[in-house]
Symmetry: C2
């Protein structure tokens, strides 16, 4: 039972950590040699050149300008300064709406915290239940508990306050959610409407083209759409199974890299030709001259690639029964994507094509029956993963103890027996097995989503995020609330009646408040501050820079800007929503800690999005229905838990009042689903027609066919020199796509000044002025 | 505990009843004066004229031809003879697919019964658990129980048979369901494809047209679709709120009827002018001359109708924000119905228009928010109706006892105190309150569906059917299995753990086998046989015929052919599916009783559909997904119950094996949903395009606009003489719609010989030959 002092100490330590991270960041980001670690986004946009080319030798690596250190906290206002429309332009809608999740947390919890502290805290505080209990039953309690619902006596009339507050919080949360959903939907539609011409606006992905004896897939697709969409069909591209080719190209690239490496090595030290072994990872096999060997390998692969390329183009087996079909107008594409084409709803499946870089090529050819079976397998596998993952982990843990290691590797015995090392192993090993599993988990979940056959990277990430949230809910939240593994809980809940379960959780919730406060501080405060430091990319960049980088292009590749990581980031935020909603009524003292998290994370991630992250795709905030749905789930869960808690506190007569809350919330969710979700799944015809008309008036002679013809070529054909798919005209168009005209310029140590917010931005002096 | 003898007696009685009904029917249907009761469908189709116009006076009413009595059972082969395609032509696809539900029952349960009797019955029979229990614990058991799973000893290895059988039955049921779903989907698509031109193929219902200050609804609709569907839009009709007008027209008709009645009365007896009272139901108020009074009333109403008609046409308030929009092609309508029109998904909602006679006009103008709130209210109300309906019924019962009546109406005391009457009241009154409620229930459910705002009669009925099924499941099935009202069960289940609930039900199931066998015989055998007798329509027809019928048209109206009554009939069949699936493994002796029901009901309803029922609408079997879904529910329920039963019989190790069954079944359901359900919700573009192309080639100069212009006029405008909406051209087209060219003719006592099955139909001699 933690007292305020305990919490204070924990808070102090974590604040210290957080501040240390922030100061370290503020210092490191000013050093020119870290520039590519902390501002990669600007490099990728081509708006910033390396400061290491100018100035004296020392100032190439270390910032000697003392003035810049004075204003070292300037990144915070800078991060907040860029207005939202410009941020959309700069980083895409996905990133901006992702930031709005943190804002939403603030919007929900600031009024909730104020209300809870002005009303609930006094109501809880002015009781003496816990003091009495301490006197009679020697029950220990903390100051935190005195502020929580635990301090209200059994069957007290004061519980009415909590019920009224539960209603108030629910209504406020729903009101905010609805407003936010409306805003995001409008932003999305506006974004789609103001977007420049993009291939995916005109294109529909058609899958499960039925096999035909007389016609090739390409002919079949063309005939089908010429017949059924005669006025709208423009062109199409069949999907080619180039997975093997892609693999070969990748291999060749790696070999070329090695060749470069050995050549540089040789040019530095001409006395000795570098040697390598031909076997696995260069560790075994015959020893040969490295340069000759790699050169031969590259040549062999070049021939193989040429053959494979020929084969892929000729072999009908490489043509997958899927195609990207493009239409004359957005209207035609919208119609085709939203309608059923044939009698058999599992053939000629049409859906919006994702943008070319978002397409997950490997999954384009999975037939319908296989898809449903894959979903079943993935669902069952996920169930076992969630509830039984402790079994293999425990197994590994039982193997990885001191005795086990000594038994299996007797030669290690002398080292292990050193007391210090022994205690480290005993203390860390079991934890490491679990930690390793948790680190690998998001990748496992991504693999599961890939196995399920989703067609775009964005949908893969959305699915993995859902699963990660469910996993966290059972294995982080519930496991912390109720002792025992998820499987043990499952067993308990199966043997408990439906109205006992909320009681069990409800009773445990107030007791865990201090634990979760500590959790928020460690994971939320220090963790977020650690995020901005980018310790891992920092180290890796310098390692790569030192050992591998030879050309400017290599340095570009060593940058690793990373991305938001929706599949792990969003479930993590959701855990805070869950905690906040659950504890809002029960232990209001919890709320300020959540608020600090949301505020800090908002600033940090806004900075990262402006300066660091490079989104791999743009889904136009397609994830918002998921975010909304999960907050609704958390809300309903918090209501059920409160119901259980109330009935165990002698306020069972409140149950009918409280049961209305989840019913109303579900109803609210259904309303929102009907009202706003279509904006995230369909493209209204009116919008399409408006854009078509506008564009036809503006560019009546635009050659759409040429523009679309090669938009959906497999990336392996696009990036290759020998590519004869793209002629100059198309290249020109594609380039036009990449070269984004911009009004912005990058300064060295700060994000760009915003045009909209004027030129009054206080900024650090340019490096060139030194 | 019923023995075989008890069951035998019960079966004997019910068979006797059933046979009595069938013989009575066979006799009554041969009497010419019953012709309109038993063959109304043929009269409505205009293919049969009254046999009462020909022959001698006696033979007008009684069939004196002895030969017809010999073949009195001929209706059975006659009913089975008409081939399915002709039946579709004759009675519509809805009816034919409805019959297939009974056929599906036979398809599922015949092999299941065979397998269960050859394998499960011997396995159960060759134990002596019950005999032992009787010896040691004086437990009573019946012969039925000896054949059931109860006779297998605790923890026996024989339970493996039951598990294997559960798998076999599940796979067989799913296989049959899938095949049937595929067949029905094909039938539906074929039906839609071969249909003649119908207005609903080209028409889309648009709702929630946003208000506009400058334009009327009609202009707004026209402009919107001219802009957004420029190539496809043809014409539209706004929806007019003519509910008041319809009421007036109905009132006028009734007054005219009364006028006729008094005029006939006066013409028969000229000595006395008929008098009437002007008050409520002619029971109170001033006494006036009836003919003058009614004539004045009719005149007054005529004026009012004319005024109202004028008002409706002029007043913009009567124009509802909804319209039927027609397109040039089926393709255009299919596109518009399946796509979203504007940013706001709650405005300009489009969906397929039902056929004109299926439209439920009153609900066309409900806005989106109101709709969601109505759904919430209906859901809550239905919850209370299902679980708490016993409260008002019990209240009425407690009021309606002898003492209550004597207290409230002391003057009745002398009559009530007569012993016979007293016992009747005491015996029947409480039952009558419940029975009355159950009779009114389908109407209550239909009212709820109407309140929810469904737009077609078919969807109203589907919704009411779902609700009726759920109500039956809790209040008929579960209440019979476990003692106590539905509310008490709900309470029990809330206090029981998730794995106790199947156990509770599972243990009770085998004990209730005899009860349900009796239920099947009473409700299924005798009830279905009673259906064919049509006792109520028979009596009502003759009463009306005697007292009211004046003209041939009156007689037509007195016929009351009725319809299938999907909202009550289908849930009733589903109860048998549920019973069959639950008892297939547990008490296989149950199955033959179910089989008899399905076979008998199939024949009876086939006869009724051919000769009696007159469907009010044609939804092209849109109800099949519901039917399929409910059978799946029953299957999953039966699996869970079996799991509970097994774990209580010491075969808990089977649980993992059995839990795979519901998982697989749910997966199967999802597969079917994806694979077949779209055929029931969307219209594939390929089909639409094919029909369009065909029709354009066949009738290039068809005036579609004229054909569609007045198709969706409110019925009150259509049926009225003063109607100036329809000009001759349109009337001609509409008439063409009504006058169905037919190859069929009706014989007196048998259904029509089918052209397809040849002319060898043995039929009774024509009346004219007498």
């Amino acid at each position: 039972m933690a007292t305020f002092a305990d919490i204070g100490v924990a808070a102090g330590i974590n604040i210290l950590f957080a501040v240390a991270f922030l100061v370290a960041f503020a210092f490191l980001r000013l050093q020119p040699f870290n520039d590519r670690v902390y501002f990669p986004k600007w490099y990728l946009k081509g708006l910033r050149s390396s400061p290491m080319h100018t100035g004296s030798f020392v100032s190439k690596f270390v910032n000697l300008d003392w003035r810049s250190y004075i204003k070292f906290l300037n990144w915070v206002p800078d991060a907040l300064k860029m207005p939202e429309p410009e941020l959309i332009d700069h980083a895409g809608l996905d990133s901006v709406v992702y930031l709005r999740i943190y804002l939403l947390g603030l919007k929900i919890f600031v009024p909730v915290a104020l209300l809870a502290w002005t009303i609930l805290v006094p109501v809880n505080w002015t009781n003496n239940t816990l003091a009495k209990a301490q006197a009679t039953e020697k029950l220990d309690y903390s100051d935190i508990d005195k502020l929580s619902i635990s301090n209200v006596p059994f069957g007290s009339q004061r519980f009415w306050t909590h019920i009224v507050m539960a209603y108030a919080f629910t209504f406020w949360t729903c009101y905010t959610l609805r407003k936010e959903y409306a805003t995001v939907a409008t932003m999305r539609l506006h974004f789609l409407a103001t977007e420049r011409r993009r291939p995916d606006q005109f294109t529909v992905l058609v899958r499960n083209v039925p096999p035909d004896l007389d016609e090739s897939v390409s002919e079949l697709v063309e005939h089908f759409f010429l017949v059924n969409h005669p006025d709208n069909y423009l062109t199409h591209q069949v999907v080619i199974n180039a997975n093997k080719l892609a693999k070969l190209v990748k291999e060749k690239k790696s070999k070329e890299n090695w060749l470069d490496y050995y050549q540089i090595k040789y040019s530095r030290n001409q006395s000795k030709r570098p040697m390598t072994k031909t076997g696995f990872l260069g560790l075994c096999g015959d020893k040969v001259d490295a340069i000759d060997y790699q050169r031969a390998e590259v040549e062999r692969l070049s021939i193989e690639i040429a053959e494979e390329r020929e084969r892929v183009r000729k072999d009908p087996k490489c043509i997958m029964p899927a195609a990207f079909v493009s239409f004359r107008t957005r209207w035609g594409a919208a119609v085709c994507a939203q309608t059923q084409q044939t009698r058999n709803p599992t053939l000629w499946l049409t859906e919006w094509a994702s943008e070319p870089r978002d397409v997950y090529w490997d999954n384009l050819a999975i037939p319908y029956v296989s898809l449903t079976i894959r979903r079943l397998i993935a669902a069952v596998a996920f169930f076992f993963l969630t509830f039984f993952f402790m079994i293999p982990v425990t197994l590994v843990q039982s193997l990885a103890n001191i005795e086990g290691i000594e038994k299996r590797a007797p030669f290690l015995k002398p080292i292990i027996e050193i007391p210090f090392i022994k205690s480290v192993i005993q203390g860390f090993l079991p934890g490491i097995a679990l930690k390793l599993f948790l680190i690998v988990l998001p990748s496992i979940l991504m693999m599961m989503s890939k196995f399920e056959g989703f067609l775009s990277i964005s949908s893969l990430e959305r699915r993995a995020a859902s699963r990660y949230y469910i996993f966290n809910f059972f294995n982080v939240f519930l496991v912390s609330v109720i002792a025992g593994t998820a499987f043990q809980q499952l067993n308990t809940f199966l043997h408990q009646s439906a109205n006992e379960i909320p009681k069990t959780i409800g009773v445990a919730i107030p007791m865990k408040a201090t634990f979760f406060i500590t959790y928020v501080m460690v994971d939320g405060w220090a963790g977020v501050a650690g995020e901005i430091l980018r310790l891992k990319p920092l180290i890796f960049f310098h390692l790569k820079n030192f050992f591998l980088v030879k050309t400017e292009k290599d340095r570009e590749e060593a940058m690793d800007p990373g991305s938001i990581g929706f599949n792990t980031g969003e479930p993590r935020i959701q855990l805070y929503f869950l905690l906040g909603l659950v504890y809002a009524v029960v232990t209001p003292v919890f709320l300020p800690f959540i608020l600090v998290f949301f505020a800090l994370a908002y600033v940090v991630f806004r900075h990262q999005i402006i300066n660091v992250y490079n989104q791999e795709y743009e889904s136009a905030a397609a994830f918002w229905p998921d975010v909304h749905g999960r907050i609704i789930c958390a809300l309903i869960f918090s209501q059920l838990v409160l119901m259980g808690l109330m009935s165990s506190k002698g306020a069972a007569q409140s149950t009918p009042l409280l049961i209305a809350l989840p019913v109303l919330t579900i109803f609210f969710h259904r309303f929102c689903k009907g009202r706003y979700e279509p904006a995230f799944a369909r493209y209204p015809l009116q919008e399409a027609m408006m854009k078509d008309t506008l564009e036809r008036a503006r560019e009546p002679n635009f050659n759409l066919k040429a523009y679309l013809q090669y938009a959906y070529v497999h990336p392996v054909f696009k990036n290759d020199d020998e590519n004869d798919y793209e002629d100059d005209e198309v290249n020109g168009i594609l380039d036009e796509n990449v070269l984004v005209p911009t009004k912005r310029q990058s300064r060295k140590n700060t994000p760009a000044p915003s045009k909209v917010s004027g030129t009054s931005t206080p900024s650090l002096p340019e490096n060139s002025e030194l």
